[in-house]
Amino acid sequence: MSAALTIEGVHTHIGRYHILQGVDFDAPAGLTTMLLGRNGAGKTTSLRTIMGLWRASKGRIMLGSTPLQDLAASDVARLGVGYAPETMSVFSDLSVKENLVLGAREGPLDDVRLAWIFGFFPALKKFWLSRAGALSGGQKQMLSIARAIVEPRELLLIDEPTKGLAPAVVDSLIACLNEIKATGVTILMVEQNFRVAREVGDEVRLMDNGRIVHRGRMAELAADGSLQNRLLGLNLDAHQ
């Protein structure tokens, strides 16, 4: 499987802090790659650096054969990269509809795709004209993801999408992500919920202290308790 996204020796500094310290990994095309690691390992910084929201001080980021490391975020997005940040970043003063209209940069909202999204997140249809700032945390998370997928994307960067979601909504989200993957989209996702990571992920990259410390198949990690314990320090029986 060829890599849709390749990151080679990427360093990122934020102020005087050296966050990414030579990150190397790839995200195979058409698969979902999970980026795991403890808090502060550099997962969110990796996504923001790929997105162009923070500039890599060194290294290469390739989307297919296109270098991203010197591009502004808007140019990265125009190459077909969708981003759903951890903070959700929905526009509070805009309605649900207006948030999605902005997500559809190429043109008007596609009714068929919208119906597909509503199938996963019916709350968005219910609160279509409501102010996004008045939605619950989980609904804002749904809106953030819906906005990232309201148009077809080549690569989706999703940061902790299940944070704050009710279990029923998490199941919808898993179904949604698997359907998106089935359309051939490459997904790079940061996730703390191992159950979600196991059900959605094909590949896994594990970060620690700003570096990748493990690359492999998600299924292998999920099946190997001792590996989980060594890499994540988790007793995953508790997460089943």
Binding site: S89, F91, S92, D93, E98, L102, L129
Partner: protein, 336 residues
């Protein structure tokens, strides 16, 4: 209505009505002290017109401050430049202004307004590229750079147009007053009010009914996310800055006609008032600035009549009172 419908209705965007009514409350509160109804009408109409002129000048600053997070102390220079640009049209076309023809009078006014907007918009582009762009995100440097830019612009206006005041003649149709009983309302004030309302309605229409407006509103709240959606915010910023400068120019043109003269320092005279208005209204809120402009102008007019010494500080007192009531202004914008 079911409980769910009620919940949804509550979630729908519904602007608070109370802040919008503050000018009315002020008017009702002042009326008994003014005593004479005709004086009250005259003061209120004059206040409304002044409010609309202030709004026209301040709305550009609101957009620039709200969307771009830029403290543009050079905004006043565009107000003065607008006045001069209007005079460049009005002086050669003085015979249109003095003609007994409504259409010629209106045409010369519109030409002056358009020239002021276009010239200020163009100079706004230069100002943004040369002075504002290098200091994005650095408030202290923005203050220093834009004050420096304003001083240079003011001195250039003196050099080009001379330090003397330049008289600006009002088109004949707009001279004089409409008289209703004992109340007199200057015709030009009616025109200035209409211009202010037109600017307000246009801005609200653009902000609420177009994708550009959506982008501006979203950019006010979270510029980074707008970029991450693929929009080139830097280009939008330039356009917003040019629009803000054009509005300052339009406001300057109307103010120059109202005062009958233009002077390079008129911009700095109104700059503080513009800042007071956008703070009272809520940073980045066009609707808030609209209400605040009327509020400030009415209070200044009533105070000027009832307690002239108080009028000197009425704007500051109004700002303190509003901020004690609503610390983020009448209509705060999320993320500000």
């Amino acid at each position: 209505m079911s409980a769910l419908d009620v919940g949804q209705a509550l979630l729908r965007r519904r602007p608070e009505i109370l802040p919008a009514l503050t000018p009315l409350f002020v008017a009702f509160a002042a009326a008994p002290f003014i005593g004479s109804f005709s004086t009250f009408v005259t003061l209120t109409a004059a206040g409304l017109a002044m409010g609309m002129m202030i709004f026209t000048m301040a709305s550009g600053l609101t957009l620039v401050f709200g969307m771009m997070d830029v403290l543009n102390f050079g905004h006043g220079a565009f107000i003065a430049l607008g006045g001069y640009a209007a005079s460049l049209v009005l002086l050669p076309l003085a015979n249109w202004s003095s003609a007994d023809s409504f259409s010629l009078n209106l045409a010369v006014f519109l030409l002056a307004a358009i020239a002021a907007s276009l010239i200020c918009g163009a100079f706004g582009w230069v100002f943004e590229r040369l002075i504002v762009k290098p200091v994005y995100g650095q408030h202290l440097k923005q203050i220093l750079a834009t004050i420096g830019g304003a001083i240079i612009a003011e001195q250039l206006l003196y050099a080009v147009f001379s330090p003397a005041q330049i008289p600006v003649t009002l088109p004949k149709t707009f001279e004089g007053s409409f008289v209703f009983g004992e109340a007199a309302i200057e015709k030009f004030r009616v025109l200035a009010t209409l211009v202010g309302f037109a600017v307000f309605l246009s801005e609200m229409l653009i902000l609420n009914r177009t994708k550009i407006g959506l982008l501006i509103r979203a950019g006010v709240e979270n510029r980074e996310m707008v970029e991450a959606l693929g929009y080139r915010v830097d280009r939008l910023f330039v356009a917003v800055f040019m629009a803000g400068s054009a509005l300052a120019g339009l406001g300057g043109a109307v103010m120059a006609l109202y005062r009958g003269q233009v002077h390079a320092s008129m911009g700095s005279e109104f700059l503080v008032l513009c800042f007071i208005v956008i703070i009272i209204g809520g940073l980045g809120s066009v609707g808030g600035s609209f209400v605040a402009s009327i509020l400030v102008a009415l209070i200044a007019n009533y105070a000027g009549f009832l307690a002239p010494k108080l009028a000197l500080v009425s704007n500051i007192l109004a700002m303190v009172a509003v901020l004690l009531w609503r610390p983020r202004g009448l209509y705060p914008v999320s993320g500000r």
